[in-house]
């Protein structure tokens, strides 16, 4: 029982790790305050859900389509809003995420608040196969373990890939943009294009996270993608460490262990009150961390320069 609970926490930590990698690339390494990540995640998840459930696409192809669509959305958002001041950009991206959520909630194609269901048969077959293998080594009773493995393998591969990318000249240009946009432009770099690439990759990562959210919740409804979850991502980011990809993994594990761990405590509060209390804790986290240790646990203070 309790092991299953913690496996689930691990699944959440992995999914939001993937989600936050994108935020780290944007906010931590490009100085881009992307607050619309939940919107990209929603686009990813719903693309997977609708293509499989309504159009009968195979799951892997739907995942590819989801990534492509999220990146296209990011290009659209980027081209229209990247020239704005950084605080205006943040507001524009939040508005984008809200529009996505509102559309999913009210439009016909997305099933409104009833949501989307019946897209995970292929995944269940694959998970069943993995479970038979796990039974052979005595772990067959943990039904969420296949998802946990899939999420964390993906997360760690993506983490490795993006951390490697960060060490290339491409990654150094991004940091240059974060430190001094005008100087980077003066060196002949197309700042706008680099920012767009940074945002596009983040959206792709959000789509992958959305794919796993879809598999985890097994039915999609709009409030799973409340813009508040972007704020969760930022809490993970500052907790783990500013401008550190390993920090994302550490932050995500600590964050979800703390948030979900509060469910285990015996309190006199109702379920609704406990849910509210969790958000209050996240809020205090954000306030205290940005005051006391803005660079986070693994972050480097010298990297912390996001200007407006």
């Amino acid at each position: 029982m309790s092991v299953d609970f913690w496996i689930n926490v691990g699944v959440l930590a992995g999914i939001y790790g993937i989600f936050t990698l994108g935020l780290q690339l944007n906010a931590g390494f490009t100085g881009l305050l992307n607050f619309g990540q939940a919107g990209f995640m929603a686009i990813g998840a719903y693309t997977v859900g609708l293509l499989v459930a309504d159009w009968g696409w195979p799951l892997w192809l739907a995942l590819l389509a989801a990534i492509v669509l999220a990146v296209l959305a990011a290009i659209f958002v980027g081209i229209s809003s990247l020239r704005l001041r950084s605080d205006h950009f943040a507001i524009a991206t939040i508005a984008f995420a809200e529009i996505v959520r509102y559309t999913l909630q009210n439009a016909e194609f997305s099933g409104g608040n009833q949501g989307v269901i019946g897209f995970d048969n292929e995944w269940r077959a694959a998970a069943g196969w993995m479970l038979t293998k796990l039974t052979a080594i005595g772990l067959g009773s943990y039904t969420q373990l296949p998802l946990f493995i899939a999420v964390w393998v993906t997360f760690l591969l993506l983490l490795l890939a993006i951390a490697t990318l960060q060490r290339t000249p491409w990654g150094r240009v991004l940091r240059g943009i974060r430190e001094d946009e005008d100087a980077t432009a003066a060196l002949g770099k197309n700042v706008f294009s680099y920012k767009l690439q940074s945002l596009g990759i983040a959206a792709g990562l959000a789509a992958v996270a959305g794919f796993f959210v879809a598999l985890n919740v097994t039915f999609l409804y709009p409030s799973v993608f409340d813009p508040t979850f972007t704020f969760f991502g930022y809490a993970i980011l500052v907790l783990g460490g500013y401008a550190s990809y390993t920090g994302v993994a550490v932050g995500s594990i600590i964050f979800w262990a703390l948030i979900e761990g509060t469910r285990l405590m015996d309190t006199a509060f109702s379920a609704g009150q406990q849910a509210a209390l969790r958000f209050v804790i996240v809020g205090f986290f954000l306030i205290l961390l940005s005051r006391l240790r803005p660079q986070g646990i693994l972050g480097n203070r010298n990297e912390m320069r996001v200007r407006s």
């Binding site: 950084s86 529009i99 930022y234 500052v238 509210a276 958000f279 809020g283 005051r291 803005p294 200007r307």
Partner: protein
């Protein structure tokens, strides 16, 4: 406008201005609003168009008043206060609290506004002042604002629950003007909203502290050099911001009738839209921006299903950011 004319006349080589630069922007805006109203009246009939317009003014009242606080804080402190929407919510739930404690509803509302002002003041002392002293980065300020927003919203939810509530006033009775119908409470919200907007405008124009705030929002260095007491202005900015947020929240609750603790975050984007439309730091602009957003949202209900109303606000926000990032009254070169 006279200065623009003089400037245009004084320099010989100045580029030829279009005829529109001689008409003041508020006048253009008023004309645009009137033309749109006329078009809507022609297509949908005078009565539905007028009805939507009246509702637009009701919404414009609370959006405009909410946006003033946001724009003052943004202008004076260069702070994007994501927690502002939740101050509106706090105003409403303070009202419920004081009414429950036995105060008559109007008095409870007034006390709630004062309590919201106190809350805004306290958040400055606890959260913002230390960050200002540490000259925090934009990201730090953003994250603190979001954290504060979560703390406020979910503390309210923790105490009061997330269920839909009402202020407990009479929501059934209505007033009719010929073919137009307006709920009594909405009429009250409209009247109080317009009155409060006028008073706020006058206070900003004629009181010392109003002038100081505007001076500060316009050019902080210049304001400080001319001897304005920084700390006093900052304190009063928070108090005014909180008080007006409380009022805006109460007007919203009165006009809409039912609400839950999440209405602040939904309304916040409309407030941002009004703020940016009016030009950041421009308090009069925020009032006008609020009216424009309110009218647009209500007019949209003639064209689309009413459930899309908030999405219209978000879309407007993005459009404004893209095409008029300086706002209606903003100058073309203003960077903070």
């Amino acid at each position: 406008m006279t200065t623009a004319l003089q400037a245009g006349g004084a320099t010989d080589g100045a580029p030829v201005r279009s005829i529109f630069s001689h008409v003041s922007r508020p006048a253009i805006l008023l004309a645009v609003i009137f033309v749109i109203f006329a078009c809507l009246a022609a297509v949908f009939g005078l009565v539905p168009a007028s009805q939507a317009t009246i509702h637009g003014f009701v919404a414009g009242g609370y959006i405009g008043l909410g946006a003033i606080g946001l724009t003052l804080v943004l202008g004076v402190l260069k702070l994007v206060n994501f927690a502002h929407g939740d101050l509106l919510v706090a105003g409403v739930y303070f009202t419920i609290l004081f009414a429950w404690a036995g105060l008559p509803l109007p008095l409870a509302m007034l006390v709630a506004m004062i309590a919201t002002a106190a809350l805004a003041f306290v958040t400055d002392k606890l959260v913002w002042q230390p960050l200002r002293r540490a000259s925090a980065s934009t990201l730090q300020l953003f994250l603190s604002a979001i954290g504060l927003a979560l703390v406020l919203r979910f503390s309210i939810q923790f105490v009061a629950g997330s269920q839909v509530r009402t202020l407990g006033a009479d929501v059934v009775s209505s007033i009719t003007f010929g073919p137009l119908r307006l709920g009594t409470l909405q009429a009250l919200a409209l009247g109080v909203g317009l009155l409060a907007m006028a008073l706020t405008g006058l206070a900003l124009r004629f009181t010392n502290i109003g002038k100081e705030m505007r001076a500060f929002a316009d050019n902080r260095a210049l304001a400080e050099v001319s001897g304005i007491d920084t700390q006093h202005v900052i304190n009063m900015t928070w108090v005014a911001s909180g008080f007006l947020a409380g009022l805006a929240g109460i007007l919203y609750a009165t006009a809409i009738g039912s609400f839950n603790p999440n209405f602040g975050i939904t309304l916040l984007l409309s407030l941002f839209a009004a703020t940016i439309l009016g030009g950041i730091g421009n308090a009069y602009g925020a009032l006008v921006g609020g009216l424009v957003i309110g009218l647009s949202q209500e007019w949209s209900t003639l064209l689309f299903n009413a459930r899309w109303k908030p999405a219209v606000g978000f879309a407007l926000l993005i459009l404004i950011l893209l095409f008029m990032p300086q706002g209606i009254f903003g100058r073309t070169k203003r960077r903070s």
